[in-house]
Symmetry: C2
Subunit: 304 residues, 2 copies
C-alpha cells in the first residue's frame, strides 16, 4: 500500500513527487515518460531562475532532482484508472495493479494536431503549439496562426506586439470568440485574416519557409512565413481520472488546494481546469497537490 501514487512525470508530477519524498510519504510515480510536454518546448524563458534553457535541458534538471530522492518510478507505464474503494484507491495500469491511500493525476495534455505534411518534421523548427512559450522567438518575423477561436486570437494578439506580420488562417467564414479580441485583431495593421482557408502543407529546409493554403476549397496560395502557430485546441490526457468531475473541455475541476470532487484524489498541472498552461504554474500546483495529500492522510487516516 502506497501513501501516494502520482500519474505523470511532467513538471506537476515531478514537483509533487519531490514534495512527497521530503514528507517521507511512500510514493510511486507511474508514467509513460519523464519530462512531459515541457520537454518539447524549444526554449523556455519563463521558468523563473533560468533565463534561457531548452525544454529538454529543463526536463533533465527536473528528472535529476526527482531521482535524487528515494521515489519509486515506473516508466513506460500508463495508468488506466484510479478506482476509489472504502478508504483507499486501486490503481489499474497497463503493467499491473497497485494500491494507495491518496493519488494525484498529473497526466498533462497534448495539442490537437493539424494533420498536414510538414507539421511533424518542422515541430520546434518553426512549428509551435504554444504562443505564450514561443511568441518572443519570432520578433520581427512573418508568422501564420492556424485557427479561428479564442486561443488562435489570443496567440495573434500576443504576436501583434512582437512579430512583423501575422496571417490568421481560419477554415470558417469568420472568427468566433470574444468580440473585443475580434475587434482588436481587425483593427491591427499587422494582421491579415484569411477566412475559408485550409492549410494543406508546411514547407521549408532546416526551418519553416512557407505554407501552402487552399482558399474557398479551390484556389491554391503560398505564403512565406518563418513561424506557424497551430492553435486548434488541445486535449487533456485524462484516462486516469475515471469518475472525477470535469468541465466541458474535459479538464479535471480542482479548487485552489488542487482537490477534486473525490476525497483523496488530487490533480495538478495542465490536466486541470486552471487556464494557464505553464511550467511554473504546473510545478506550483504539484507542490500544492502533494501537501494537500499529506494533510489528507494526517487528518483522515490514523495509522498511516
Amino acid at each position: 500500500m502506497y501513501d501516494l501514487i502520482i500519474a505523470g512525470a511532467g513538471p506537476a508530477g515531478i514537483t509533487a513527487a519531490v514534495y512527497a519524498a521530503r514528507k517521507k510519504m511512500k510514493t510511486l510515480v507511474v508514467t509513460k515518460n519523464i519530462g512531459g510536454y515541457a520537454a518539447s518546448s524549444a526554449t523556455v524563458e519563463n521558468y523563473i531562475g533560468y533565463q534561457f534553457i531548452s525544454g529538454a535541458e529543463l526536463a533533465k534538471k527536473f528528472e535529476e532532482h526527482l531521482k535524487s530522492f528515494d521515489v519509486e518510478i515506473k516508466e513506460n507505464t500508463e495508468v488506466l484508472c484510479f478506482r476509489k474503494l472504502d478508504n483507499h484507491f486501486k490503481v489499474e495500469t497497463d503493467k499491473g495493479e497497485y494500491e494507495c491511500l491518496t493519488a494525484i493525476v498529473a497526466t498533462g495534455r497534448k495539442p490537437r494536431l493539424l494533420g498536414v505534411p510538414g507539421e511533424v518534421a518542422f515541430k520546434n523548427r518553426g512549428v509551435t503549439y504554444c504562443a505564450t512559450c514561443d511568441a518572443p522567438l519570432f520578433a520581427r518575423k512573418d508568422v501564420a496562426v492556424i485557427g479561428g477561436g479564442n486561443s488562435a486570437m489570443d496567440a495573434t494578439i500576443q504576436l501583434m506586439s512582437i512579430a512583423n506580420k501575422i496571417y490568421l488562417i481560419n477554415i470558417n467564414n469568420d472568427l468566433e470568440g470574444d468580440e473585443i479580441m475580434i475587434e482588436k485583431i481587425k483593427k491591427s495593421d499587422k494582421v491579415e485574416i484569411l477566412n475559408n482557408t485550409n492549410t494543406k502543407e508546411i514547407m521549408g529546409d532546416k526551418f519553416v519557409n512557407n505554407i501552402k493554403l487552399q482558399v474557398n476549397k479551390s484556389v491554391e496560395r503560398m505564403l512565406d512565413v518563418q513561424g506557424v502557430f497551430i492553435e486548434i485546441g488541445s486535449m487533456p490526457v485524462k484516462g486516469p481520472g475515471c469518475d472525477v468531475n470535469t468541465n466541458k473541455k474535459d479538464e479535471i475541476i480542482v479548487n485552489k488546494r488542487c482537490e477534486t470532487d473525490v476525497p483523496g484524489l488530487f490533480a495538478a498541472g495542465d490536466v486541470t481546469d486552471v487556464p494557464e498552461k505553464q511550467i511554473i504554474v504546473a510545478a506550483g500546483q504539484g507542490a500544492i497537490a502533494s501537501l494537500s495529500a499529506f494533510k489528507y492522510i494526517s487528518k483522515n487516516i490514523f495509522d498511516s
Copy 2:
C-alpha cells in the same frame, strides 16, 4: 499610466513581472527589497530544477532573471495603498504616487518573532521559521519546536520521521488544535511535550547548542538541541491591499485565477490565503496573476 503595478519582489512578484514583460505590458515593480522572504532560507531543496541552492543564491537568480527584461523597478519603496478609481488604480507609496490599470499584491509575509536573546544571532544557524523548508537539514539531530498550535504540531509531525528527538515547547497547559495531530504526537516516542514552558534564551557558538527554558514560571531548565523551529505564527504584509477581502488571518482571499474581490486587483504568493507558503507555489501564482491581469486588460479596457 502603467498597465500593471506589482507590489513586492519575492518569487511571486518577480515571476509576475517576468510574465508581464513577456506580454509587453508597461509594468512597474514597487518593493522594499528584491528576493523577499525566500532569500532568508538557509537551503532550498524544493525549488524544482535546483537540487541544492541557498535562498540567497536562488533570490539572486530570480533578480537576474527579472533584470534581463525591460521592467521598471523602484526599490526601497513601500506601497501604502492601491486606491480603485473608475477604471484604474491610484497607487500611493512612501516615495510618490503612480497610476495603473491593474495591480498585483505580492508583498509576502513575515514570521512572528519569539523575541528572546539569541533568536536573531542564530537565525539560519539552527533557528528556523519554516519546517517544510528546513526539517530535512536536521536528520538525526535533537531539536526544539516552539509553539502549541497546528503549525507547531505540523512541524513536529514533519520532524518525527527525520529528527532524533523533538522537544515541543508550549507556553500553555496543553496543545490546542486538530485532535488527530495531538494524538499522533502524544503517541510518538520521539516527542517530549513540555507544557507551561517559556523559552528564555537560545544559545550556542557558531550554531545553536542549547536553549534555556522556564517551567511553570519558576524552574529553569537547559536543553541540548541543534535546531529551534519557531512556529508561533506569521503575519501577511498586507498594507497595499487596503479595501480587499481577507480571511480571519488577514490573508487576501483569492480564487484559483488569483483574482481578489476588487476587479483588476490580483494577489499572489504568501500574502494570499493559499495555505502552502512555498517558493514554487508563490512563483506559480505570480504567473497566474500576471496572465489574469493581461486578460483583464484585453477584455475590459479597449484602448490599452
